[in-house]
Symmetry: C2
DNA sequence: ACTGGCACTTGCGCCTGGCGAGTGCCAAAG
DNA sequence: CTTTGGCACTCGCCAGGCGCAAGTGCCAGT
C-alpha cells in the first residue's frame, strides 16, 4: 500500500506481473508459479512467487479463472503493465520497409486508407480500423466551378489531404462563362488555405461582393460548398480490415466474436472506439474503450496527420491479451507513414 | 433412372425431398421419417417415407451425417430443390417499402451501395456483397477539363450511373483558356453517350483534329481519360456487410467461419463469388461457387442496372442450408431497386 | 405399393474416478 | 522479516462406461 518508497520486494512483484503478462500473451494459458520461475530468471523459488501472486491478486492486478488454475492478468494488471512495465518496442527494419513500400504504391486517398488497413492488420494480427482523413480538419487547396450542360454546374473542392469532393448544382438559369470564372476566382481567394470550417465563414462574406442580380447563383454555389465542408457523413467514413484475425479472441462465436463483428459494422461505434485524437499511440483496455458489450477487448489508437494538424484516427482492436509493445509500435509507425503520405498528396 | 415418364411415386419422392429441405432449413437438424409425416400431410406412413429416402440417398440427393441420424440434403439435393421444387416467393409489402424508402434516402453512388449492402444483409440475415457500378459498362455523361493553378489541369468524368471520377494532370506549359474549352467541347462531342471502352477509341481520334502544336496537351488529357475509363481498380470495388450473420454457419470458428472471413477480405475472391452477370437471381451451391475452401456455402447473386445494360453484380453469401426462395426474392428486389436508383442519378 | 413391427446401430448426455496442475498455509531456516 | 520446502487440498479435465432415444433397414403381411 505504501507507494512512495519502493521496497525490493515490490520491485520483484512488478517483475512477476510483467512475466505473467508476457507469458500469458504468448501461451494464452493461465500461468502458474512453477512455470514462471522456469521461464524467467527470478532467482527465487515457486513458493516465494506464490506469495507475490497472492499480493498481486489482492491488489486486483491478476486473477485466477478457477481455484486450481494459474493466474491471468486483469484489465487493471494490463493497465499497469502498459503504463509502467513496458516500452514501445521498435519495429524490425524489414517491417518498416514493408509499410513504407506498400503505402508508397497508393494512387489516391482511398487507396492509402485501404492499404493502411491491410498493412496494419497484417502487422498486428488484429482488426485494423482506419478513419478517412477528416474534411473539417484539412484546408482548402482548390475550388473549381464548372458549367455543365444547361443550368447545371459542377462544384469541385480539393483539400490539402488530397481528397476531391464534388457536387452538381441545379441553377435557375444558365450562367455566363464570365460570371462563373469571376465566382471561381473570388471563392478561391476567400477559401484557399483555410481550414474548412473557417472557409465556410469566409465564403458567406463573398456573396455580398456580387451584384444583387448574381447573388442567387452565388448563394447556391456557396451553400453547396458549405454543405461539402461540413458533411459529417464523409468525416465519419471508416475502413475496417483483418476481421479474420478475430480467431485470436475466444473460441465461442456467439459470446465473444459476434458482438465484435456487430460493433465493427456500426460506424458510430467504430468512431467511439478510435477515441479522441492523441499524437502517440494510446491504449484503452476493457471498459476504458467506452463501449459495452465488448469485454476482453482493447484498442490501440493514434491520430495521424502532419505535425501541426491531426487529420484523423487509426488503430487496432484486439483481445486484452495482446502484445501491447508490438501493437503500439505498429500503430505508431503506420500513423507516421500515413500522415507523411497524405501531407503532400 | 427413367426421367421421361413421371411415376406417381416419383412425384412423392420429390415432395419428400422438398419437405426435407424445408424442415432442415428451418430446424437446422437432420430430419427423420417420423417427424416428416407429422409435419407434412404426406398421407403415408414413416416406413414408406423411409423407402423413398433410401432412393433419394441412392440418387445422391440426401445423406445422413451418421447412421442413426435423420437425413440432410446434399448440394445436389439443394440444386434440385432450387431448380424444380421452389419458386421465388414474393416479398411482403412492408419489406418492399423498407427497401424502397431506405434506398431512396441515398445521396450519392457510394451511399446507394452502402445502403444496399445493409438492407440486403438485414433482409436475408446473411452476408451481403455489392459491387460498385462498373465504369466500363456505363456511358459517359459529361467530360470536363479545368485549369488549376500553374500548368495543372483537372479532368473530370461523370458517368451515366452518377459516378464522378477526377484526375489531376501536370502539363508542360500553361494552356490558354480558349484551347482548353476547345479541347473540352471536342472531347464531349466524341465521348458523351458512349460506353467507356468505345469512348477511349473515339478520344484517340480526337487528338489528330488538333494543330500539331497543341497535340502534346491533348494527348496528356486523353491518356489520362483513357486511364480513368479502364481503371480496373474502381471496377473491382466491392462492399461487404452483415458479417455478424456468419453465426448462421457452424459453431466452429476455425473450420467454418474463419475461411469465410478471409475470403471476404479478398476482392478477387468476392468478384469470383458474385460470378457472371445474370439478370435474374442465380444460385450457386457448394462447389458451384468456384471457390475452394468454402464448403457448405451458397451464393445468390444477380446483376443490377438498367434493362439494356447491366452495371454490376450484387448478392448474398450464406450456408447452403438457407431459405433459397426468400433470399432469391430479396436479392432480386434489391437489384431492381438499385438498378432503378442508379438509372437516373 | 404400402404398412406395421422389430432388431440393430450409434450419437449424445450423464456420471464416475483418477490424474495433474496449481494453490495456500505453515513451520523452519537464513 | 523474507524466503523456502513440504504438504494437504481444490478443481478442472479426460477417459471410460452406461443407458437412452432417435432413426434406420429389412421383412412379412395386406
Amino acid at each position: 500500500m505504501s507507494e512512495e518508497r519502493r521496497l525490493p520486494s515490490e520491485d520483484r512483484r512488478l517483475e512477476v506481473l510483467r512475466a505473467i503478462v508476457e507469458d500469458y500473451v504468448e501461451t494464452q494459458e493461465p500461468v502458474g508459479s512453477r512455470a514462471l520461475v522456469e521461464r524467467h530468471q527470478l532467482g527465487v523459488s515457486p513458493a516465494t512467487i506464490r506469495n507475490d501472486m497472492a499480493v498481486l491478486e489482492e491488489e486486483g492486478l491478476i486473477a485466477q479463472p478457477h481455484t486450481s488454475a494459474g493466474r491471468v492478468p486483469t484489465d487493471k494488471g494490463y493497465r499497469l503493465f502498459v503504463d509502467r512495465l513496458s516500452q514501445v518496442k521498435a519495429l524490425t527494419s524489414p517491417e518498416r520497409r514493408a509499410i513504407e513500400t506498400f503505402l508508397a504504391g497508393a494512387v489516391d486517398v482511398d487507396d492509402v486508407v485501404q492499404r493502411s488497413v491491410k498493412v496494419l492488420a497484417q502487422l498486428t494480427n488484429q482488426v485494423a480500423i482506419v478513419q478517412y482523413p477528416s474534411l473539417t480538419r484539412s484546408t482548402v487547396r482548390h475550388v473549381e466551378v464548372v458549367a455543365l450542360e444547361g443550368a447545371r454546374v459542377l462544384v469541385v473542392v480539393i483539400t490539402s489531404s488530397g481528397r476531391v469532393e464534388q457536387r452538381i448544382v441545379e441553377l435557375e438559369s444558365t450562367p455566363s462563362d464570365g460570371l462563373l470564372s469571376d465566382v471561381r476566382s473570388r471563392l478561391m481567394t476567400a477559401a484557399v488555405g483555410q481550414r474548412l470550417p473557417e472557409a465556410s465563414l469566409r465564403l458567406a462574406d463573398v456573396i455580398g461582393t456580387f451584384a444583387p442580380a448574381d447573388r442567387p447563383l452565388v448563394t447556391s454555389v456557396v451553400t453547396t460548398l458549405t454543405h461539402v465542408f461540413s458533411d459529417e457523413r464523409s468525416d465519419e467514413r471508416v475502413a475496417v480490415g483483418g476481421t479474420a484475425n478475430l480467431a485470436r479472441f475466444g473460441r465461442d462465436f456467439d459470446t465473444s466474436i459476434r458482438p465484435v463483428l456487430e460493433a465493427l459494422e456500426e460506424q458510430v461505434v467504430l468512431l467511439k472506439l478510435l477515441g479522441e485524437a492523441t499524437t502517440d499511440p494510446t491504449v484503452r483496455i476493457g471498459l476504458e474503450t467506452g463501449t459495452e458489450g465488448l469485454p476482453g477487448t482493447a484498442v490501440v489508437s493514434s491520430a495521424y496527420g502532419s505535425s501541426e494538424q491531426a487529420l484523423a484516427m487509426l488503430g487496432t482492436l484486439g483481445p486484452t491479451r495482446m502484445d501491447y509493445p508490438g501493437t503500439m509500435a505498429a500503430v505508431g509507425a503506420v500513423a507516421r507513414y500515413v500522415g507523411r503520405q497524405l501531407a503532400d498528396g
